[in-house]
C-alpha cells in the first residue's frame, strides 16, 4: 500500500520537480503559496499532466511518461477535496452524494449507502438543501462524504480549512482528524499552515520553489527542520547565517556570538535557528548580554524583541516569545539558549 510520485513539470519560469513516497496515514505537503504543492496534487489526480515522470498507487501505474501511460482522472480512484469543496451548486446534498455512486450497485444499495453517509456526516437534516444553504463545515462534510462514497484508494486534501472561518477551524480539525483516521488509507494534504500540518499529519514533506526539501515524521521535522526554508515553514523566527568553528561550536557573525551545540556540526552548515520560545535567562550555556528593543503583546503571550550586545543595530531583532504569566518584571541583562535547542540548518540543494 503506497503512493510513489516522481514527476517534473516545466511551466516556464517555474519548474516542479518532486519525488516522494507516501505511506498509509496522513502525509502533508507543507510550503508557501506558489511552491507547487497544489500542482503536485493535481498531477496525482490526473487533472494536470506532468512533462515526465512516474506516478504509482498501490502497484497501479497512474502515469508514466516513458510507457506513455496517463490514466484519466475517472480511472485513477483518487479522491480530491478541493479548497472550495466543489459541491455541484445545482444539486441537493443528496444528489451530490449520489453522483459518487453513479453506475454502481442497484438503486436500493445506492440509496442505503447515501443514507449511511448522510448520517455519518450528520447531514440528514440537510439532504434536500443546496450547497449554498450549508455552513462552511457542512459543505466540507458533504464534499468529504461524496468523496468517501466513491471509495478512493487515496485521498487528496487541498488546503481543507482555508475556506472556513478561524473559529470553526479548530473544532473541524479534530473532526477531520478522526474521519481521516477511520479512512485508513493514504491521505495527502496540502497546506501552508504549520498548525494544521502538525495537528493532522504523521509525516510532513516540505516544499519550496517546486522542490521537495525534506520528508520526515512530523515531530522530527519540527525538532530538526534541517534547512532554512523548512525552519521558516515550521515557524522558526530567529535564523542567521553561521560558520562551523568546532565539532560542537558555531559562530554567528551577524549576532556577534559563538554558540555551543548538542548535535555535532556538519561541514556544510549554512545557518542556525533558535525558536522564539527557547530563550532562558538562567541557562548555563550560551548566555550573552542583550539589549531590549520592543514588546509586542498577544492575548496570552508576549513577544519581547532584543538584540545581542554586539549585534549590529540595523539587523533583524531576535524574538523571544513567552506566556504572559512568565514575563519577568524587568528585562533580563543576559539571555541564553540550551545547546539542544540550536537548530542546525544546511544548504538544501
Amino acid at each position: 500500500m503506497s503512493l510513489i510520485v516522481d514527476i517534473r513539470k516545466d511551466l516556464g519560469g517555474f519548474v516542479l520537480n518532486t519525488a516522494f513516497e507516501a505511506e498509509p496515514g496522513v502525509t502533508t505537503l507543507l510550503g508557501p503559496s506558489g511552491c507547487g504543492k497544489s500542482l503536485t496534487l493535481k498531477c496525482i489526480a490526473g487533472i494536470e499532466k506532468p512533462d515526465r515522470g512516474h506516478i504509482e498507487l498501490n502497484g497501479r501505474v497512474l502515469f508514466d511518461s516513458a510507457q506513455h501511460i496517463n490514466l484519466r482522472p475517472q480511472q485513477r480512484h483518487v479522491g480530491y477535496l478541493f479548497q472550495n469543496y466543489a459541491l455541484f451548486p445545482n444539486m441537493t446534498v443528496r444528489q451530490n452524494l449520489m453522483c459518487a455512486l453513479r453506475g454502481k450497485y442497484d438503486r436500493e444499495t445506492r440509496d442505503q449507502r447515501v443514507d449511511e453517509m448522510l448520517s455519518l456526516m450528520r447531514l440528514e437534516a440537510q439532504e434536500k438543501h443546496k450547497p449554498s444553504q450549508l455552513s462552511g463545515g457542512q459543505q466540507q462534510r458533504a464534499a468529504l462524504g461524496r468523496i468517501l462514497l466513491s471509495e478512493p484508494e487515496l485521498l487528496l486534501l487541498d488546503e481543507p480549512f482555508s475556506a472556513l472561518d478561524a473559529h470553526l477551524r479548530d473544532s473541524l480539525k479534530i473532526e477531520l482528524r478522526n474521519m481521516l483516521h477511520s479512512f485508513g488509507r493514504e491521505v495527502l494534504m496540502v497546506t501552508h499552515s504549520r498548525e494544521e500540518a502538525y495537528d493532522l499529519s504523521r509525516r510532513i514533506a516540505v516544499m519550496d520553489h517546486g522542490r521537495l526539501l525534506a520528508l520526515k515524521p512530523t515531530k522530527e521535522l519540527f525538532a530538526d527542520p534541517g534547512s532554512v526554508p523548512a525552519a521558516i515553514l515550521t515557524g522558526c523566527k530567529n535564523i542567521a547565517t553561521a560558520i562551523k568553528t568546532g565539532d560542537y561550536e558555531v559562530e554567528v557573525p551577524e549576532w556577534g556570538i559563538r554558540l555551543q551545540t548538542a548535535q555535532p556540526v556538519g561541514d556544510n552548515l549554512a545557518a542556525i535557528g533558535i525558536r522564539a520560545h527557547y530563550f532562558n535567562p538562567s541557562t548555563a550555556h550560551n548566555r550573552f548580554p542583550v539589549r531590549f528593543v520592543e514588546e509586542m503583546e498577544e492575548p496570552f503571550e508576549t513577544i519581547l524583541q532584543f538584540r545581542w550586545a554586539r549585534q549590529d543595530q540595523d539587523s533583524q531583532p531576535i524574538w523571544w516569545r513567552l506566556s504572559k504569566d512568565k514575563r519577568p518584571q524587568s528585562f533580563p541583562k543576559e539571555l541564553g539558549v540550551a545547546p539542544a535547542n540550536i537548530l542546525l540548518l544546511y544548504d538544501s540543494f
Binding site: 490526473g46 487533472i47 482522472p73 475517472q74 455541484f88 453513479r102 453506475g103
Partner: protein, 225 residues
Amino acid sequence: MSNFDWYPLWNSLRIAAISCVLVFFLGIFFAYYAARLPRTVKGILDVILTLPMVLPPTVCGYFLLLVFGVKRPLGMFLLQFGIKFVMTWYGGVLAAAVVAFPLMYRTARGAFESFDKNLAYAGQTLGLSNSYIFWRIRMPACRQGILAGTVLAFARALGEYGATSMLIGYTPGRTATISTTVYQLWRTNDEAGAMFWVLINLAISTVVLLTVNLLEARQKKAVKA
C-alpha cells in the same frame, strides 16, 4: 381579418425558431471548444466568429450570396440535391443564423469562462463521464448565461433584415418576413399596414427583452445566494 395575410409572422417565427435552435448548439459547441484552443488560434477564431455581429448585415448577405449563389460552386453543387438558399424561406434561416450566431457564441463563452473549473475536476475524480459533467453540471451552472444568449439570438434572428433581404428578397407568401414586409408596405405607401407589423414587432421584442431582464435579475439573485 379572416383573409389577412399572416404569413410574415409565421415565416418570421419559423425562421427565428429554427435558426435559434441551430445557433444554440453551434454557439455552445464553438464556445466550449474555443476556450480550450491555444491562445493564438483562439484569437483568430474569435475574430472570425464575432465578425457577423459588427459587419453590416448587408455585407453578411453579400458574403452569403458569394458562397451560396446559384452560380457559385457550392450553390450549384447544392442545387443538384434540390437545396437552394437563394429566394427560399430556409435561406432566411441561414441568413438569420449567421447574424445571430455571435450573440449566442459570445454569451455562452462568457458563461463558460466564469464556470468554476474545480466543479468539472471534482466530477472527473468522482468518476463521472465527461458528457455527464457537461450536460448535468456545466450547463446547469451556466444556465442563466446560456438562456440569455439564446433569447438574444432569437430576438436578433427575428429582427434580421439586411442579410435576409440580400439572400431571399421579398416574395409575399414565400419569403416575406415581418421586417421585409414593413419595408415593402412602407415603400408602397401602405402606412397602416406597415404600422400594424411595426406594432407586432414591438410587442415581440418587448416580451423578449423583458425575459432577458428577468433572467439577469434571477442570475444576480443566484450569485448572491
